[in-house]
């Protein structure tokens, strides 16, 4: 009959299993495997549009995958279960080891083994004639201590020995590494909740105040308090882009994006700043990143009676490398009907053989704006939020372009055109008419920049823990932990035999060389003392 384990017994058994190295290894391998699906299937966190597309492409498969949380792998129950178990296992392993290490740090090196000849790097030497065993060990102790060993001396009638150990930093580093990993997990898991990330598009000349409502989108952490937003203002003064123009292989490739901004902290003087890709602006506790840009043509719609019913620089979203851009204009009020327009903007317009417009260069060489006009119900009055970047055409009637047989409206900067059905006129406002007249369109259309504004108070912690991780790795993997013994035995004839040996604790490729080096240094020291002792005193 086997004895019954009982609840505590089972818990203890379970805990021992969980904290065993075998389980840790198993969980590590599971973690590696569990991370793979997130690279095969688009993730909501990093690629939300990809997920939408995936649902459209695989209508049968996608919902089933979604049930398995395949689109949120890294926050899924199964992925979290693996890493949480792994970290519990890690903590359960590290705590007793820390305790043990503290004891080892206070303990003396163990007694010298009886037979050193069985150990690594065993070396035998003869002590110089006049050195006795006790003196030889005193010197061995000095040599080992100066090499950073912790030493303990053992003397008996026939032999003296010193037992030495070094490389406690190896285990320290090991423990620091694992503790710092826990620190990173906790910081990421809870610390992330105290920050926020917000997005805002600014056209040149526009200003934004850092308040909740001013953001185009805003993702606060769980513990973030909106009222703590620091209401500084950010103005985009100028957005400049430079393009490669020399190298024909990369002609038109952007080589620099620079957003010149002005930041005005509340109640303080404005200060200029620059935001670049790879060069966020750190201001007022937040970081401002430049994540996108494009053109924002200024479009004006005038009612037949001359009233301006719409006038705005509309950000057009880039569709290709040459910045063919797509934008939406909605005019809900002031005209006989609600008006929607889908616009294409070509910074350097060109015509394909098929007659389709395209942009052949991303800078403003020969800008053209085309507009397809829709009339009807824009769907804005129902109070349902709609995207400013899309136009639902179901409830609208197309008036120009496409199958209507009416040509799309095409506008150069500064030009105007009549809207269909006598609704009014639409103009493409030129920012720099004088230069355009001379054929230079480079300043005719405004640009926009899209900024991400982040606040993350935990980054300093992450950097600190990461540094500790690296420190722990270096010391935990590369510092050799070893024991070295030196034993001096007095032979029957009065001469002293010296024995050296070492023991590796963990991977230690240089152990034998280290033992030999200790022996060499020890003999050198003994010889020098002997020389001093045997030299006739000159004083």
């Amino acid at each position: 009959m086997q004895p019954k384990l009982g609840l505590t017994g089972w818990l203890r058994w379970f805990w021992r299993q969980l904290t065993s190295m075998r389980t840790a290894l198993f969980l590590l391998l599971m973690l590696a495997i569990a991370a793979i699906p997130g690279s095969l299937v688009p993730q909501r966190s990093s690629d939300p549009n990809g997920v939408t597309q995936y649902f459209a492409d695989n209508p049968d498969l996608a919902p089933n995958l979604d049930k398995l949380q395949a689109f949120d792998v890294y926050t899924s129950a199964w992925f979290s279960a693996i890493y949480l178990l792994l970290f519990i296992s890690l903590i359960g392993c590290v705590i007793p080891r820390t305790k043990h290490h503290f004891q080892a740090l206070r303990a003396k090196p163990p007694t010298t083994p009886a037979r050193l000849s069985r150990l690594s790097g065993f070396t035998e030497r003869d002590a110089p004639a006049q050195a006795d065993a006790a003196t030889a060990i005193t010197h061995a102790r000095t040599v080992l201590k100066s090499s950073g060993y912790r030493v303990a001396r053992f003397d008996s009638d026939t032999e003296s020995s010193v037992s030495a150990e070094r490389g406690y930093l190896r285990e320290t580093g090991n423990l620091v590494f694992h503790a710092a990993l826990v620190g990173i997990l906790v910081t990421v898991g809870f610390g992330g909740g105290y920050g926020f990330a917000g997005q805002r598009v600014l056209v040149e000349g526009q200003t934004f105040v850092n308040t909740l409502l001013a953001y185009d989108s805003f993702n606060p952490g769980r513990f973030f308090d909106d009222t703590t937003l620091d209401p500084y203002t950010l103005s985009l003064d100028d957005f400049s882009v430079s393009y490669e123009q020399q190298n024909l292989q990369a002609y038109g490739q952007p080589i620099d994006f620079t957003a010149d901004v002005t930041v005005t902290p509340k109640g303080e003087a404005p200060e200029p700043g620059v935001v670049k890709v790879n060069g966020p602006l750190r201001t007022n506790g937040t970081s401002i990143y430049l994540l996108g840009n494009g053109y924002a043509p200024t479009i004006q719609v005038t009612a037949p009676d001359g009233t301006v019913v719409f006038s705005d620089s509309v950000p057009f979203l880039p569709q290709d490398a040459n910045l063919t851009s797509l934008g939406i204009v909605k005019v809900p009020d002031g005209l006989a009907e609600q008006l929607g327009m889908i616009g294409f903007f070509y910074p350097t317009q060109d015509k394909a053989a098929s007659g389709a417009n395209f942009s052949s260069y991303p800078d403003l060489e020969y800008p053209l704006l085309t507009l397809n006009v829709y009339t009807g119900d824009l769907g804005l009055d129902a109070g349902v939020p709609t995207s400013v970047y899309s136009l639902v055409t179901d409830t609208l009637t197309q008036q120009t372009g496409g199958k209507t047989g009416v040509e799309s409206i095409e506008l150069k900067p500064g030009a105007s055109a009549e809207l269909p059905n006598g609704l009014g006129t639409v103009s493409f406002v030129d920012n720099d008419p004088a230069a355009s007249a001379a054929g230079d369109f480079t300043k005719s259309v405004s640009r926009f920049a899209s900024f991400d504004i982040h606040y993350d108070p935990t980054q300093i912690w992450l950097i600190s823990f990461s540094t500790l991780v690296l420190f722990g790795l270096f010391t935990g993997l590369l510092v050799p932990r070893r024991r070295v013994w030196v034993k001096a035995t007095t032979r029957a004839d009065g001469t002293v035999q010296l024995e050296y040996a070492g023991l590796a604790r963990g991977d230690d490729p240089a152990l034998e060389a280290a033992v030999t080096a200790v022996a060499d240094r020890h003999l050198k020291l003994l010889n020098s003392h002997q020389t001093v002792a045997t030299t006739p005193e000159s004083t």
Binding site: M21, L25, S39, V73, V188, A250, Q253, N278, P280, V469
Partner: protein, 358 residues
């Protein structure tokens, strides 16, 4: 630098690269010949042994027959095999010196490496920046670093027997790079204009170089431990058919599986430290460029997977039952993931790291 100079320098870089590939191919052949020679030398001794063993068994002293006999054979019967390479704990069953083909192989590798280095430097000057901003350049620099790590390690330990693998790997990668990934010199897009390009990518390549060597050592370790097991079995049974079925007779001239495992471990832990740094440097750069330090981008995912696999490898060495062949398999899987991350994830997976135009 003006464009014509740049184009000219780039074409010189290409000539140098193709020359380097040709010389690597020659080195590969020389290393392969060395392995073949080792095999035939081992074969000759085994044959002599078995004749002797037959004679011995017919003389009635069958008890002394066994593989250990090979180890005890006096050196004078095989002068080439007696030279033990210096500085390395070479505990090969049949120590084998440096044959002329091995010397030629190493010399050709050094020559090819010099051409490879010249090609990479010229590409860098042609582009007026570090030569690792797209897949082609990254492959060129990465393989250069694999080779540099190999040549540096050779000074310390005699891993010349890995020459076939290392030159072969570099040749294949350079071939793919030159034929599939080649792009003309182009300026850096703003997203790559950062000091972290220099640090993050360089350290990643260096880590890859370490993992490549660790992979090769682990693979040889697996073959070697298979041979050792056969030898152990052979001690009890007649071993002729097993040894010839194995075909890889040269393994007898290589270090024991335990030595190979230790070497692989030492190289892989350096790789792991470099990889950890790559991951951290990448995070710091990601924060600057994309506004978040970690976002589970496909490349980030695979960098993480590789890190976890090698963490597993290091733990496996401390787990009972996992030392030896099992941990070697982890190192092999780890390097396969590194190659997958470089060759497949960059090209076929959608992600933020894919914007360098290959």
């Amino acid at each position: 630098m003006n464009l014509t100079d740049s184009a000219l320098l780039n074409s010189y870089s290409l000539y140098a690269l193709y020359s380097a590939m040709a010389v690597y191919a020659l080195a590969f052949i020389a290393f392969a010949i060395d392995l073949a020679r080792r095999s035939s030398a081992v074969g000759a001794i085994e044959e002599a042994d078995s004749i002797e063993a037959d004679a011995a068994s017919s003389a009635g002293s069958a008890a002394s027959v066994g593989s250990t006999r090979t180890l005890e054979r006096p050196a004078l019967k095989r002068p080439v095999l007696s030279r033990i390479s210096a500085r390395m704990d070479n505990d090969a069953a049949l120590p084998y010196g440096r044959s002329s083909s091995l010397r030629v192989g190493v010399a050709l590798t050094v020559l090819a490496w010099a051409l490879h280095l010249a090609a990479t430097i010229m590409r860098g000057f042609a582009a007026d920046r570090v030569p690792w901003a797209n897949m082609y350049e990254f492959a060129m620099t990465g393989t250069l670093l694999i080779m540099t790590v190999f040549l540096i390690v050779l000074v310390r330990s005699d891993l010349r027997f890995l020459g076939t693998f290392v030159t072969g790997l570099v040749l294949v990668l350079l071939g793919i790079a030159a034929l599939q990934f080649y792009v003309e010199v182009a300026p850096l897009p703003p997203a790559l204009q950062s000091a972290w390009l220099v640090i993050h990518v360089f350290v990643a390549s260096l880590g890859t170089g370490m993992f490549a060597l660790g992979f090769a050592l682990s693979a040889v370790q697996l073959l070697q431990s298979r041979r050792e097991n056969h030898v152990l079995e052979g001690a009890a049974a007649p071993r002729g058919p097993i040894a010839s079925a194995l075909r890889l007779r040269f393994l007898a001239t290589l270090p024991s599986s335990a030595t190979l495992e230790n070497l692989a471990y030492r190289i892989n832990i350096i790789g792991f430290i470099l990889w950890t740094f790559t991951l951290m440097a990448g995070s710091i750069w990601a924060e600057k460029a994309w506004g978040r330090y970690w976002g589970w981008d496909t490349k980030e995912v695979w960098t993480f997977i590789i890190w976890v696999i090698y963490a597993g490898y290091i733990h496996a060495r401390a787990t009972r039952g996992w030392r030896g062949s099992r941990s070697a398999w982890l190192a092999i899987i780890g390097f396969s993931a590194v190659m997958f991350n470089f060759g497949i994830v960059n090209v076929f997976f959608k992600g933020l790291h894919a914007y360098s135009g290959l």
